[in-house]
């Protein structure tokens, strides 16, 4: 009998305690962030969409090798010395390789940041942009090369011409490897 009354009392009092707690929670500051209107402050080292600064990129392909999911594709063409179009890097050195293709597939990217870590010239960097949802996956393939297809063709022709002349001039001593296309095998 005592236990019975105790049980009833425990049930009632715990209900009231619970109601007091929920009552207090009615008036505390809400945690909701009204997303499109107000935004969460990004952490300092937030890793979001990548951006490639082409004038810094020397086409070394380290990023493509470092990427664990192979979402970067880099293709380069050596700069022919006869090319009237020459470029200087941010550090004042001449460009050695044209980057004819630089694709990042953000549908694959896992935002690990390894590519930014290995880049010798800090050409590839995370931005603060994270709202870029699209309706089809193809739109997530970002192309960062600055050369037009015509320019690429032109560069290839110039290089081939230069090679041909070089072969004629130094027929025996061309120990250097021929035109080297850097393509990540696993990607395609």
């Amino acid at each position: 009998m005592i236990q019975y009354i105790k049980n009833i009392w425990a049930g009632l009092s715990s209900t009231f305690i619970g109601m007091r707690i929920t009552w207090k929670h009615l008036f505390v500051k809400k945690v909701t962030i009204q997303y499109p209107d107000e935004r969460f402050k990004l952490p300092e080292k937030a890793r979001n969409r990548l951006y490639l600064e082409m004038s810094r990129c020397n086409g070394c392909n380290s990023c493509a090798i470092a990427c664990p999911v192979n979402c970067i594709t880099v293709e380069t063409i050596r700069v022919s010395p006869d090319d009237p179009h020459q470029e200087v890097h941010y550090n004042g050195k001449d460009r050695k390789l044209w980057v004819s293709r630089y694709d990042i597939d953000f549908a694959k990217c896992c935002y690990c940041g390894l590519c930014t870590a290995v880049c010798p010239s800090e050409a590839i960097q995370h931005t603060t942009e994270y709202e870029y949802s699209v309706y089809n996956r193809e739109s997530l393939l970002y192309k960062f090369q600055t050369l037009t297809p015509e320019q690429v063709k032109e560069k290839e022709r110039l290089l081939a011409e230069f090679r041909a002349i070089e072969k004629v001039c130094h027929p025996e001593g061309d120990a250097k490897p021929a035109e080297k296309k850097v393509v990540d095998k696993k990607t395609e």
């Binding site: 009833i8 209900t15 929670h25 505390v28 909701t32 009204q34």
Partner: protein, 350 residues
């Protein structure tokens, strides 16, 4: 005694006035249900430190309208193997049961749709119609979850009808009438004349106050069970029964269940208000007392009770079936008998 009804006074007793009287509570229910849905959304959100709906209208106040429109637009699916007639009838029967109770609810001194002398008895009688509707819906859906939900619901309704009836009967003993309008009139004056505080009387009533308070609590708890609300929502416990008896319903018919639930909440809140909280009486004697203020007091008291129901819903977890039966038969029923005896003794001694 003849009940006053302002519409009869105004228009005379003809078809139009009767129709108006019948449809007034319906309009009230529709508006009230929208507000109650919004309150439910907002209170639950605030208790969980969220904001709730914010984008439909200012502060999301149009959200219930959007939800109703959505429900009306939805496809109305009837299961292939269901019993079509019963299946389609069930939501309307449940809503009818919930709405029928409004006939005797005294909104004001001058407005009660049908002031019959057996008001409280009538409320309990039509309350059982919902149980029939629930069984019909659960059985006709031809779905084990629906059937189980319906059976649980009826078991629960029957178990909790008794303590609720005992609580109401005690007040009937105290007031010596079943006419809800009369009960309201007895409680006029200050709030200590309300039946939850023992009704009008001399200081000798002090010893009966704990019992009437207990009766109020018992009625409130049983009314939660009768409306299938948390913590007594095992008939529709979504974690075990999908949605209980209305698992198969969609579209407009689901909306009927929805409305019926909110209408039922208001009915029990209105009964609680009428028999325990003084109905349309102002709590402060003659201050703001009158037919129009009556509506205000009545609706605000009943709505406060509804808010408490919502508040409890977001506080307590659901009972197990055995706990539910334990509380109904072993706690509420004996306690309501004790309170009934005490109140009867008080009335005899008076």
């Amino acid at each position: 005694m003849e009940n006053v009804n302002f519409l009869y006074d105004l228009l005379g007793k003809n078809v139009i006035s009767v129709l108006l009287i019948v449809s007034l509570p319906l309009m009230f229910v529709l508006v009230y249900a929208l507000i109650a849905i919004l309150a439910e959304l907002k209170v639950s959100a605030w208790i969980q430190e969220r904001l709730g709906p914010m984008r439909t209208g200012p502060w999301g106040i149009l959200q219930p309208i959007a939800e109703v429109v959505k429900l009306i637009q939805k496809e109305d699916i009837t299961p292939d193997r269901s019993s079509k007639l019963l299946y389609n009838l069930a939501p309307f029967i449940i809503f009818t049961g919930a709405y029928a109770a409004f006939a005797v609810i005294p909104f004001s001194e001058y407005f009660v749709p049908a002031g019959i002398n057996l008001g409280l008895f009538y409320i309990f009688a039509v309350g059982s119609i919902s149980a029939i509707g629930i069984v019909m819906g659960g059985w006709a859906s031809n779905n084990k979850y629906s059937l189980m939900g319906a059976m649980r619901s009826v078991a629960q309704l029957i178990s909790y009808e008794i303590p609720a009836a005992m609580a109401v009967l005690s007040i009937v003993v105290l007031a010596s009438t079943m006419n809800m309008q009369e009960i309201n009139k007895i409680q006029s004056g200050w709030f200590w004349n309300w039946f939850i505080f023992g009704g009008p009387g001399t200081l000798a009533k002090l010893w009966v106050i704990p019992f009437t308070l207990g009766l109020g609590l018992i009625y409130f708890i049983s009314s939660l069970a009768e409306t299938n609300r948390v913590p007594f929502d095992i008939p529709e416990g979504e974690s075990e029964l999908v949605a209980g008896f209305h698992t198969e319903y969609s579209g407009m018919k689901f909306a009927m269940f929805f409305f019926a639930e909110y209408a039922n909440m208001f009915v029990v809140a209105a009964v609680l208000t009428t028999i325990f909280l003084g109905g349309w009486n102002s709590p402060f004697g003659d201050f703001m007392q009158g037919p129009f203020w009556g509506v205000f007091w009545f609706v605000s008291k009943a709505f406060t009770v509804v808010l408490v129901q919502i508040w409890i819903r977001w506080t307590l977890p659901r009972f197990r079936v055995d706990q539910l039966m334990y509380i109904g038969w072993k706690v509420l029923l004996p306690l309501s008998f004790i309170c009934f005896m005490a109140v009867s003794l008080y009335v005899m001694l008076k």
